[in-house]
Amino acid sequence: MKLSDSRTINADATTVWAGLLDPEVLKACVPGCTEMSGSASDGFEATVVQKVGPVKATFKGAVQLSEMNEPTSLTISGEGKGGAAGFAKGGADVRLEPQGDTTILHYDVEAKVGGKLAQLGSRIIDGFAKKMADQFFENFSNAVGEADPESAEGIEETTKKKGWFKKLVS
């Protein structure tokens, strides 16, 4: 499965870069993530609970970061094992492109699933992956960026959603 897209995040590249390397941010942003530990240099250990179609499982996995060119690009690779549910593994090439005050985050994901996930969930895996990516970047934008002033939701909740991570680092 391949997935390529880009997102505009209301934060500068340095902030986005720092967010990508922070286990607390990742834990808050990865949908279903219940545990996240480790560091950018040693890799992260994560536990994610997710339901893919008829298959619900707890995935335990390791995530490695490599090809790190601060603050412009990095490669994320990892593998999650879900026991009887099977496994998911893959990688993402991430590139950060500054644009004014914002950053465009480009990603190319290549992933594969195996075991029950493939046997029962293959028809829905592409849609599932896209949904996961959408949720992640929505959470990530909210965490590291200024809320989008264009969105009605953003206007109402500007204070509440004002990039808690950015407040911490700035």
């Binding site: 026991g83 009887a84 099977g86 496994f87 594969k112 699933v113 195996g114 075991g115 029950k116 493939a118 046997q119 029962l120 293959s122 028809r123």
Partner: protein, 789 residues
């Protein structure tokens, strides 16, 4: 008038009473004190190196009694292939070991590398989850062409993914090449025979008990072939002596080939039962059935048909890649070779046939015989290319076939693919088909379809198959490592009822009804006094199992021979009772009478006398009335048929529906026409399923994507039409005592090309010059083909 008893009667299936009232006894129904459950840890990757398996945590979990890994079976034997195929250069095929549990490497998704035995199913499943297996995933070998070209091997030790490169008949190769080179017209077709999952209603299940008192084992298992399973476990895998191992196949809910073979789970539960001293049962869930039952078909074929200017067939030449999966299942090497290549002359007088089959290892489930086994692949290739040829040279497809049919006065006919057909009349089948299918009304029906905006297509097919496998002397020459006879014991009890022990196993075929009809006819007694005993190696002399439409032709013949022996002995007893010589005794309607007199004794009186042998001439006759016969056939049997169907195709969506389906078969003599019709119906359902719906899909990583009924489309009642089935055109088999040919697979052999030919015809009638489409003919494929035409 139809008979109401004996041979030819449409006797209602007696076994259906227990099946339909829920009192059948299947393997998983068998319970005793101390039951335990086995669950397997199965690979989630298609190809991987087992670095380590840590069972420490799992072993400490509640209810866990034992855990096995491949290491525990490293010293025992492997599950062998039953048929040795030699390559064209004379070298023997590659036979990598197939262990009880994967050891060193896992080779397909679902390959078992460990097993947990626990008190309950839930505990066993939880413990399997806790096994920590470090398996390093390697690139999967999935596509057959890539497998042959690459240097990544399913079995490193053999250094190739090619199991064999087989030529049939190698001596005919040059002549076939020359015939094609010099032909007036050559039609070429490349096609895929799609991979199928057997999907028996009852998934596989095995239950073992060990009886320490006698050092004896009992294995209940879902088998079509309990004696062969015992033989393989004894001689090759675990070394348990045959006289210490009883294999029982109780009621079995369908097999379609997938339960012919011995599987590792059977060996595992036997070993576990001995270790624990408790019964151990494993029952596959549906996902395990998809992942590990031997699959069927999976051929990629290029076929050429050469003709002269008059449309006479000069040669068929095929090149086939046959997927054997990750390991050689027991008959996997025979299926794409001798059950396929020998049928590549079809119903035709074609003088030249050459077949090349390369069998290829891949990181997928093993592939073996599935309803029809090789013969559907042969028929599909032949009958598709003939249809294409007819279109290319502007001939009617039925007339072109008729022109090339073997004629009734040519039997016995030596086919160009090496078989000797004993009887048949293909024109008569075609005549009958044209009549009962109301071909004359097709034009009007097509018009009616077109008025609804639908295209209507007509497809036809003629098939021949080889059943009643097989003469042991012949198959021995061809590489079989077993004989293919069968056996029966007819036991007449003192009170006059009979137990008939048969080597054939019934798992849907209706033997319990049909076999007594034969014996009842011969003895002139009521069939209800005759019971069939099958599926238990401790009760039956021997058997080679049920597959290849062989039960009646081979085992039924053994029943006839044993019954003849019973009659001969009973005549001696009757002669003694009536004080005449046995030559004067006649048996009619259950009475032994002295020819030309009114003196007689009944069958029941003779039976009683056999067991209460007062005043018996013991020097001439032993007490008792029980006889055994082994029957080894003189030849295959050759059922044949003419099939046609009409499909409606919606050009807007590509959806195809089969509207009419006609099957006219020559099965020789028919014992029970109702059962035969039912067998044809079942086969047609599976064949239409293959043609329109079913497909087994592995992704490029060897993950099985169609592993449930959400993605693997089984035919449902509303996918199938009402059938017109006719078996009035029987030409009896000339070499077995019943004159029967076998009917179990015909429907699945004859229907796929019929349906696809009709789909092509429908598209052509809509002005789309589509000449080929691969199965399953899904709406997407049809629609795409029509857009691109």
């Amino acid at each position: 008038m139809p008979k109401d008893d004996g041979i030819g009667a449409a006797t209602v299936r007696r076994e259906d009473v227990r099946f339909l009232t829920g009192v059948g006894q299947y393997t998983d129904d068998i319970k005793a004190y101390g039951e335990t459950v086995a669950v397997f840890a199965r690979s989630t990757v298609a190809n991987g190196v087992i670095k380590s398996i840590d069972t420490t945590t799992a072993a400490g979990m509640p209810g866990v009694l034992a855990i096995f890994t491949g290491e525990d079976f490293a010293e025992v034997g492997g599950n062998p292939a039953g048929w040795l195929i030699n390559s064209r250069d004379g070298t023997p095929m590659h036979e990598p070991k197939r262990p009880v549990l994967a050891h060193g490497k896992v080779r397909h998704v679902g390959d078992a590398y460990a097993a947990v035995i626990a008190e309950t199913l839930e505990q066993a499943k939880n413990a399997v989850e806790a096994i920590e297996a470090d398996i390093e995933e390697l690139d999967a070998i999935v596509n057959m062409k890539d497998a042959l070209a690459g240097s990544n091997y399913v079995h490193d030790e053999i250094g190739t993914n090619q199991c064999f490169d087989w030529g049939w008949i190698e001596d005919n190769r040059d002549a076939t090449d020359a015939a094609i080179k010099g032909a007036h017209h050559v039609t070429t077709l490349e096609l895929v025979n799609n991979r199928l999952v057997p999907n028996a209603m009852e998934p596989r299940s095995s239950r073992a008990e060990y009886k320490a008192a006698g050092d004896e084992y009992v294995l209940h298992t879902t088998s079509q072939n309990p004696h062969l399973t015992r033989l393989l476990i004894s001689a090759f895998v675990l070394g348990i002596p045959e006289n210490k191992l009883t294999v029982i196949a109780p009621d079995v809910g369908g097999g379609f080939g997938s339960k012919i073979y011995h599987y590792g789970e059977e060996a595992l539960v036997l070993a576990a039962a001995k270790k624990l001293g408790r019964p151990v049962t494993w029952t596959a869930d549906r996902t395990e059935a998809f992942l590990t039952d031997a699959h069927g078909r999976d051929h990629v074929t290029k076929i050429e048909l050469a003709m002269d200017a008059e449309g006479n067939f000069l040669a068929f030449r095929t090149e086939t890649l046959a997927n054997v999966g990750a390991y050689l299942s027991n008959f996997s090497t025979a299926t794409p070779t001798f059950l396929h290549g020998t049928l590549m002359a079809g119903n035709y007088t074609v003088p030249n046939v050459y077949v090349n089959v390369k069998a290829v290892f891949t990181n997928t489930a093993p592939v073996d015989a599935y309803r029809g086994a090789g013969r559907p692949e042969a028929t599909y290739s032949l009958e598709r290319v003939i249809d294409k040829a007819a279109r290319e040279i502007g001939r009617d497809p039925i007339e072109l076939r008729r022109q090339n049919f073997i004629k009734p006065d040519q039997y016995p006919f030596a086919s160009a693919a090496g078989l000797e057909y004993d009887s048949g009349n293909y024109d008569a089948l075609m005549d009958k088909m044209e009549e009962v299918a109301d071909m004359a009304g097709f034009a009007a029906r097509r018009k009616a379809s077109e008025a609804k905006g639908l295209l209507r297509g007509f497809g036809v097919n003629a098939y021949i198959e080889a059943c009643g496998i097989a003469p042991s002397n012949l198959v021995g020459v061809l590489g079989s490592r077993v004989g293919l006879y069968d056996a029966a014991t007819v036991r007449v009890n003192a009170t006059g009822n009979l137990s008939v022990m048969v080597g054939a196993h019934s798992h849907g075929q209706g033997h319990e009804t049909a076999f007594p009809q034969v014996v009842a006819e011969m003895l002139g007694i009521d069939a209800s006094t005759i019971d069939i005993v099958h599926g238990d190696t401790s009760k039956i002399p021997f058997g080679m199992g049920t597959y290849g439409s062989r039960s009646l032709a081979v085992c039924g013949s053994a029943v006839v021979r044993a019954t003849e022996k019973v009659i001969n002995k009973a005549k001696k007893i009757a002669a003694h009772m009536l004080e005449v010589s046995d030559g004067d005794i006649e048996l009619k309607d259950g009475q032994f009478s002295v020819a030309g007199t009114d003196k007689s004794v009944s069958f029941g009186e003779v039976a009683l006398k056999a067991y209460i042998p007062h005043e018996f001439p013991l020097e001439d006759i032993e007490p008792g009335l029980e006889e055994t016969a082994f029957y080894d056939p003189a030849n295959f049997t050759y059922p044949s048929g003419a099939y046609c169907c009409e499909v409606e195709l919606d050009p807007e969506t590509g959806k195809v529906s089969v509207e009419r389906m006609t099957a006219v078969d020559d099965f020789g003599n028919v014992i029970n026409p109702m059962i035969v019709t039912g067998q044809v119906h079942g086969g047609l359902g599976q064949g239409i399923g293959q043609a329109l719906l079913e497909n087994t899909t592995y992704d490029e990583n060897g993950q099985l994507l169609s592993a449930s009924y959400m993605d693997y489309t089984m035919p449902r009642a509303d996918d199938l039409p009402f059938y017109t089935v006719d078996h009035s055109q029987g030409n009896p088999c000339t070499h077995n005592p019943l004159g029967v040919k076998g009917c179990g697979e015909a429907g699945a052999i004859g229907s796929p090309p019929t349906v696809v030919n009709a789909v092509i015809d429908a598209m052509q009638s809509g002005g789309k010059n589509v000449t080929h489409i691969d199965m399953p003919v899904t709406p997407h494929r049809v629609w795409s083909a029509m857009q691109n035409a």
